[in-house]
């Protein structure tokens, strides 16, 4: 298990981390969310010792992270990059070996990854000859080739098309299945909600929410009734006691209410409309909770 305790870091007058603490468990995928400049990249770099912290400790299996421990970590930084002119397979083998694999093992894993990524016939091509999307896939293989115990990926989904998103999601799920602790940052909150077991939300260098996705959604002081029906009167609904706001998104009315409000009377009121095509009630989506927390 990865544990971050009270990480603090300032750059001049800018506070990047202000007592950031959370945990990442093996076999689970943890989404790391936060607005731009919240401290996500600094935190991820701190895990790898790439940032000298003013205070705080990073522990793996209860012990401080040192160079030998980091060899068992995989990292896909926000700033992507590989040697542009080096052959793809050679590059993966090199990075695998730098992380402690022996030559034969690194070569066989590189071949497996390239076949899995559909790049088996490009093994001898230089990285710069690949499309941006394929370079990103090789970058993922570079982070995971040595079967790390902890995989930390900074914005791995950015720039991927929907097929690429699905493939990467499956890969991350497989890594967690294998037993690795997976931490990744993303701004695609719906994706995080679907894919992640746990979520950490960071804002201004501090963790403002942490835990299983359902738990975080449930911890919101609000619930949302979604309705798509003829004759629904949003103004009347908004006047009701306990209703916070009513908004329309993607053709559906969304009624925000206090979480302690009796659901029955609310549904009854909504049901007065005719031709109900959609009706649901539950905690807000992760993206809603995120906005509530960091607004």
């Amino acid at each position: 298990m990865l544990e971050l305790h009270d990480l603090r870091k300032t750059y001049g007058t800018v506070v990047a981390l202000d007592g950031c603490s959370f945990r990442v468990e093996p076999g689970r995928i943890t989404g790391f969310l936060g607005p731009n400049g919240a401290g996500k990249t600094t935190t991820m770099r701190a895990i790898f010792g790439l940032v000298s912290l003013d205070e705080g400790t990073v522990l793996w299996q209860g012990r401080p992270v040192d160079l030998a421990t980091r060899l068992r970590f995989g990292y896909m930084p926000e700033e992507r990059g590989l040697y542009p002119r080096m052959k793809i397979a050679d590059q993966l083998v090199y990075l695998g070996r730098i992380h402690g694999m022996d030559g034969a093992e690194a070569r066989s894993e590189a071949a497996r990854w390239l076949n899995e990524l559909g790049l088996g016939d490009r093994a001898s091509d230089p990285v710069e000859s690949l499309s941006q999307g394929n370079q990103q896939r090789v970058q993922l293989a570079a982070a995971l080739i040595h079967r790390p115990d902890l995989a930390v990926l900074d914005e791995p989904f950015s720039g991927l098309d929907p097929i690429g998103v699905d493939r990467l999601s499956a890969t991350l799920a497989a890594e967690a299945e294998r037993g690795a602790a997976v931490l990744f940052s993303s701004h695609q909150l719906d994706l995080v909600e679907d894919l992640c077991d746990d979520v950490v939300i960071i804002h201004r260098g501090r963790v403002v929410a942490e835990g299983p996705v359902d738990h975080i959604r449930g911890s919101s002081p609000h619930r949302v009734l979604e309705i798509d029906a003829d004759g629904f009167d949003p103004a009347a609904m908004e006047r009701r006691d306990g209703v916070v706001k009513v908004e329309r998104r993607a053709g559906v009315w969304r009624v925000w209410v206090r979480s302690d409000l009796d659901m029955g009377s609310l549904v009854a009121a909504a049901g007065e409309a005719s031709q109900v095509r959609h009706l649901s009630y539950g905690p807000p989506h992760l993206s809603d909770v995120f906005r509530e927390l960091v607004a």
Binding site: R45, Y75, L82, Y83
Partner: protein
């Protein structure tokens, strides 16, 4: 943790990837071609005829000059042009000889004044005039019917006298020193620049962030310097080897004898000089985000190398003077100055040892200092990072 393994991997990658690159292959081929062209083409095209300027004093010289001219003309392959200048007295002729206005002086047809041997040596002029005088003497003796070949061969036709003190050391040493200096300068700058571009490439491509997770920055810098240095040394050796073979083949130049000791010292200083400048260039490379800014960041070190190079010319003239001693003891100029002084056998042992010790100490210090600046600069991707800023913000 055992760092030898990742160090070996880094060194190996530098060697293999660079040796495979088209830029390396072509630069090696071109360098060898240029070196061979410099050596072979003048021989193929035919060099400029050598001028032999004979000063004459008194009588009895004309038959010798005429014979020398005839011998030169009869052997067009020798490509020698003979000219003669008449002097009123021997004093004036000696002055002209010392100042290099004439190559040798004939006095009364029986004495030959030659300059003390300098860089280019006495050479073909003296051989030509001696041969001419021998021919004239044989003719004269034959006419008189009293040829004494043995006496002629033993005593020679002319009494030879060396004029002036000449230059220090022998020409072979000078050639080794001069050639070594130029090669050292070219090597330090060329391979230093490779290190610079290698570091900038790693930073610009961002791959460095993945590497730093598994490898300490100092090890990364040292591995790069050693890898590129090994390849540079190999390229350097092949180029010099090709040059030596070409020189032997054309016999255009008498190769100076270089002792094993001198060769070892030259290689040692190649390695020290390269390591010193490569660490500086590599550190400079960590401060810039784009390859096109690399030269600017490295500019101060290029200037230092150029200064060291020019100081060394002073040392060629005066290998034991104060400039030479200072240049020996200052590590930045030592790689240029010390090999020259060794080649000219003009360095006391204590200075030689002091130069090695101080340069090694500075290299080790620079790897530490440079490693810190390198670490501070590597993960700053926007714009150019200042030296002090990089040093202070070192994260490792």
């Amino acid at each position: 943790m055992n760092l030898a393994r990742p160090f070996g991997l880094i060194v190996r990658r530098e060697i293999v990837e660079r040796a495979r690159s088209r830029a390396f292959i072509w630069s090696s081929v071109f360098t060898i071609l240029i070196v061979l062209a410099v050596i072979l083409v003048p021989g193929l095209l035919g060099g400029r005829p050598e001028q032999v300027r004979i000063g004459t004093v008194g009588e009895g010289n004309d038959p010798i000059v005429a014979a020398a001219t005839r011998i030169a003309e009869e052997d067009p392959e020798a490509e020698i042009e003979v000219s003669a200048v008449r002097f009123a007295d021997e004093e004036e002729a000696r002055r002209a000889l010392e100042e290099g206005d004439v190559d040798l002086v004939l006095v009364d047809g029986v004495r030959l004044l030659v300059p003390a041997e300098g860089f280019m040596g006495g050479g073909s002029g003296e051989r030509l005039v001696t041969a001419a005088a021998t021919a004239v003497e044989i003719d004269r003796l034959a006419a008189a019917g009293e040829v004494d070949t043995v006496r002629l061969l033993v005593e020679g036709p002319l009494r030879r006298e060396v004029v002036g003190e000449g230059e220090q050391g022998d020409p072979g040493r000078f050639v080794v020193a001069y050639g070594g200096l130029v090669l050292m300068y070219v090597a330090v700058l060329t391979y230093g620049m490779w290190t610079l571009s290698g570091v900038t490439e790693e930073k610009a491509s961002r791959v460095v962030e993945i590497l730093l997770v598994a490898v300490p920055p100092r090890l990364l810098l040292a591995g790069k310097v050693v890898g590129i240095g090994s390849l540079g040394l190999a390229q350097f050796t092949v180029t010099i080897g090709a040059a030596l073979v070409a020189l032997q083949a054309t016999s255009s130049f008498e190769l100076p004898a270089v002792s094993v000791g001198q060769a070892v010292i030259l290689v040692l200083w190649f390695l020290l000089g390269y390591a010193l400048y490569a660490v500086m260039f590599g550190t400079a490379g960590a401060l810039v985000s784009r390859p096109e800014d690399a030269q600017t960041a490295a500019f101060p070190f290029t200037v230092v190398a150029v200064l060291g190079f020019f100081v060394s010319f002073q040392v060629l003239d005066d290998p034991t003077g104060p400039v030479a001693v200072a240049g020996t003891l200052i590590p930045l100029s030592a790689p240029f100055v010390v090999p020259i002084r060794h080649a000219m056998e003009a360095i006391p042992l204590w200075q030689s040892v002091a130069a090695v010790v101080s340069t090694v100490a500075v290299i080790l210090g620079l790897v530490r200092l440079g490693g810190r600046v390198y670490a501070g600069g590597l993960l700053r991707y926007r714009g150019r990072v200042g030296w002090r800023e990089a040093f202070r913000s070192a994260e490792f």
